[in-house]
């Protein structure tokens, strides 16, 4: 070996070599004994180290292994090859055996060790780090996840270090004291175990180079690493003056040191890369609510390629708009909105996406851009900093939206009602609208409202009859024109009647369809009891819904409807049918009444259920508190 045999260190404390040696022997024995296959891949490198024993091991290894305590090593001269040792960690394992066997080498090693700055020896080489990372993956595939304490305990117990030492290693490496190891903490712990197995005493506190790169400590760790590197650079300067006189053997380490300086450069690169890794981690870390902006996997705000194009056109790329854009997006984020709102939404979404895409270099935006519109909508409603598209928040029920015409919502409510029986149910408490009978306006309202109510409260079977109501509205208009006063149900019935007759109403609706077309098309399938709300609207709006409903009816039953008749024809038809609806209406009335009754029962039962749940909760709490008291009263021996 290159190191000179017994060279009395200038100031080395007498005790440390002994401890060092003792520890060396112990682990070396352990290493030798340890079977290759037994502990698994973890300890394979150590086993490999056994057979090898290179000549120049000592300096290499001593450089690699961290000095146990600074105070112990303070006396030692600088060790130029320390860096080289670190660089050659894999080989150093072999060296360690030689080191251990050569007691005399210890002093030289110690002396050499001192040359490096205190945290140098604890630096993790790239190979080591890669190995640690791989080991981490075997326990926890997610590199950003944690290894729970129990798993880590098992893992490190395999190293056959005494529990006491493992406990100390854990204390050092679990930086945030959470009982789990992050990747950095795990690497630090692993490194300490490696060092310990190779005979190096554990430090009292975690060396800076092993500190986990916490988000808020990035600066400190960077500083630490920088100081480490500075230490490296300084070590060669320090080494020569102290070493030259007494350590002729160290001279040959100078070339190694030169090599090590290159190695150190790589370390610095590595550290910077690790910093970038940290950056990445910090981005993903949940702590920062603004991570969304820089999140590598931003939420896909653009619903479709079309919108993506729009986004590109309207590229704002301002992240600060993100907070607002979700707000912008959210209100319009209703499927039933008209094109205007939807376009607004897309714009907002685009801005958000811009923010994301601008910050997101890895994002697979194009893929996600192709995602459906609903995806964007859902995201727009959610906070931007979700790592994965979260389940769309309960979209404000389209019924709440007021952007589009209420009538359209209502009409749509009827439509989807058919398809989705239970969906329409809305605040079930909407009472059947009273039936003022003063004039056409209210009538018009009422049917509209009633229809809306019915649409919301009734189940699918009811919706079918409601749809005829649309036709009835045209009838209503006719009635309104004629000044006939009818009850809502009758009107509805008439509507149904009319619907069956249909065509005239359809034609009427078609007449007005032009106006309603746009809106109807914009109607969302969601239903809103806007109709209910609309009950109080003035006369003017009701005609609109009627028209729209008719139009929707047209759309709903294109096949059944004709669009040729004129209003006059309709009126004539309506006029001819006043009597017919009444007879049929009674059945409908009965059904609707029963529906209403069921709804009320439902409400009552739901209320009862919630009350019972509350009671159950209270009782459980009481029980828990009683149990606690019982615990307290029992003697402590019980614990």
């Amino acid at each position: 070996e290159s190191t000179s045999p017994v060279v009395s260190p200038q100031q080395s404390p007498p005790t440390s070599p002994h401890t060092w040696r003792k520890h060396n022997r112990h682990p070396s024995g352990g290493n030798n004994e340890r079977p290759l296959a037994g502990p698994g891949p973890f300890w394979a490198p150590f086993s490999e180290a056994q057979p090898g024993s290179s000549t120049s091991s000592d300096p290499i290894w001593s450089g690699h292994s961290p000095p146990p305590h600074q105070e112990n090593w303070v006396s030692f001269a600088d060790t130029p090859p320390t860096s080289a040792l670190l660089a050659m960690h894999p080989a150093s394992v072999q060296d360690q055996t030689t080191v251990r066997t050569v007691a005399s080498a210890t002093t030289t090693n110690e002396i050499r060790r001192q040359s490096s700055s205190y945290d140098d020896p604890w630096k993790i080489t790239d190979e080591q780090r890669q190995y640690y990372v791989n080991q981490f993956k075997t326990i926890q595939p997610d590199l950003n996840g944690f290894i729970p304490g129990s798993a880590a305990k098992e893992f490190f117990t395999k190293s056959k270090l005494p529990i006491l030492e493992l406990s100390h290693i854990w204390e050092l490496s679990d930086f945030d004291k959470d009982g789990a190891l992050t990747l950095d903490e795990f690497c630090a712990a692993f490194h300490l175990v490696v060092a310990r197995k190779n005979g190096y005493d554990l430090p009292e506190k975690l060396p800076e180079s092993l500190m986990p790169k916490l988000i808020d400590l990035e600066d400190s760790t960077e500083v630490g690493e920088q100081t480490g590197e500075v230490g490296y650079s300084s070590s060669p300067a320090e080494a020569p003056p102290s070493k030259s006189p007494s350590m002729p053997s160290l001279n040959q380490t100078w070339p190694e040191l030169n090599q090590s300086s290159e190695q150190w450069e790589t370390f610095s690169e590595r550290s910077s890369s690790s910093q970038t890794l940290t950056q990445f981690d910090s981005n993903i870390a949940p702590a920062d609510p603004d991570t969304a902006i820089v999140h590598p996997v931003p939420i896909r705000m653009t619903p479709s390629k079309i919108h993506m194009q729009e986004m590109e056109l309207k590229r704002t790329g301002s992240d600060h708009t993100n907070p607002t854009s979700p707000l912008l997006v959210k209100p319009p984020d209703l499927p039933e909105e008209n094109k205007m709102s939807s376009s607004v939404k897309y714009t907002a979404g685009n801005t958000v996406t811009d923010g994301y895409s601008s910050s997101d270099s890895y994002a697979s935006d194009p893929e996600q851009i192709g995602s459906t519109v609903t995806r964007q909508r859902s995201h727009s409603g959610t906070s931007p900093d979700n790592a994965a598209p979260p389940p769309p928040p309960p979209r404000p029920h389209p019924s709440h939206s007021r952007s589009s015409s209420l009538d359209m919502n209502r009409s749509f409510s009827v439509t989807p009602g058919q398809q989705q029986p239970g969906v329409v149910a809305y605040p079930p408490a909407v009472p059947p609208r009273p039936q003022p009978s003063q004039g056409a306006g209210p009538h018009v309202h009422r049917p509209v409202d009633a229809e809306g109510l019915i649409a919301h409260t009734s189940t699918s079977p009811q919706q079918i009859p409601e749809q005829p109501n649309f036709a009835d509205f045209s009838q209503f208009e006719a009635f309104a024109v004629s000044g006939v006063n009818k009850e809502e149900e009758d009107e509805i019935e008439t509507h149904s009647e009319v619907l069956q007759v249909e065509k005239p109403s359809d034609s009427a609706s078609s007449l007005r369809g032009a106006k309603a077309d746009g809106r109807v098309e914009e109607k969302a399938p969601a239903t809103v009891p806007t109709s209910a709300g609309k009950g109080t609207t003035p006369l003017a709006p009701p005609p609109k819904p009627i028209r729209r409903r008719l139009k929707s009816e047209d759309e709903l039953r294109p096949e059944a409807e004709e669009h040729t008749q004129k209003t006059g024809v309709i009126a004539a038809v309506l006029a001819s049918q006043p009597s017919i609806p009444r007879s049929v209406g009674k059945d409908k009335k009965a059904i609707q009444a029963s529906i209403r009754r069921n709804k009320e029962t439902n409400t009552v039962l739901a209320r009862l259920n919630s009350e019972l749940q509350q009671q159950l909760k209270d009782v459980l709490e009481e029980r828990i508190s009683l149990e606690v008291q019982l615990e307290q009263l029992r003697p402590f021996s019980h614990l």
């Binding site: 880590a152 606690v628 008291q629 307290q632």
Partner: protein
């Protein structure tokens, strides 16, 4: 003079004991051991109260001619006992409380260590450091 002791239930055997002036150590060991009775007494007296009151600082357990004994118990019934010199009048209640809090924090850190089995004697160096620093503060 400062002696601290940590005892764990159920048998109240000590997990950790440390005194700053090492002479007369046995006397302090005896003192803290007897003070455990007082601690238990206080705990049982509080039995009717809610659990969260358990964790509170128990306060001055009893003053003897030379020193005062303070107690603290955690939710898991781990007892901390501290004996300070009566001559140390500078030590106020708040400081004792903060010291206990620090002890408790260090203790929980130890608990987080998977290699630590509850009930073992505490050998943690970090814990030792904490206690040492506290004692240096007082003395």
């Amino acid at each position: 003079v400062l002696v601290s002791l940590i005892c764990s239930p159920p048998q109240n055997y000590p997990l950790y004991i440390r005194s700053v002036p090492t002479e007369n150590e046995l006397k302090f060991h005896y003192t803290v051991h007897t003070s455990l009775d007082v601690v238990d007494e206080k705990i049982s007296a509080m039995g009717k109260a809610l659990v969260d009151q358990r964790e509170l600082y128990l306060g001055l357990l009893y003053p003897t001619e030379d020193y005062k004994v303070y107690g603290y118990v955690t939710n898991s019934k781990v007892k901390f006992v501290m004996v300070v010199d009566s001559s140390n009048t500078a030590l106020r209640d708040n400081e004792i409380r903060s010291m206990f809090r620090k002890l408790h924090n260090s203790y929980t850190d130890i608990m987080c260590n998977p290699f630590y089995n509850p009930g073992d004697r505490i050998h943690s160096r970090a814990f030792d450091n904490t206690v040492n620093s506290m004692m240096m503060q007082v003395c």
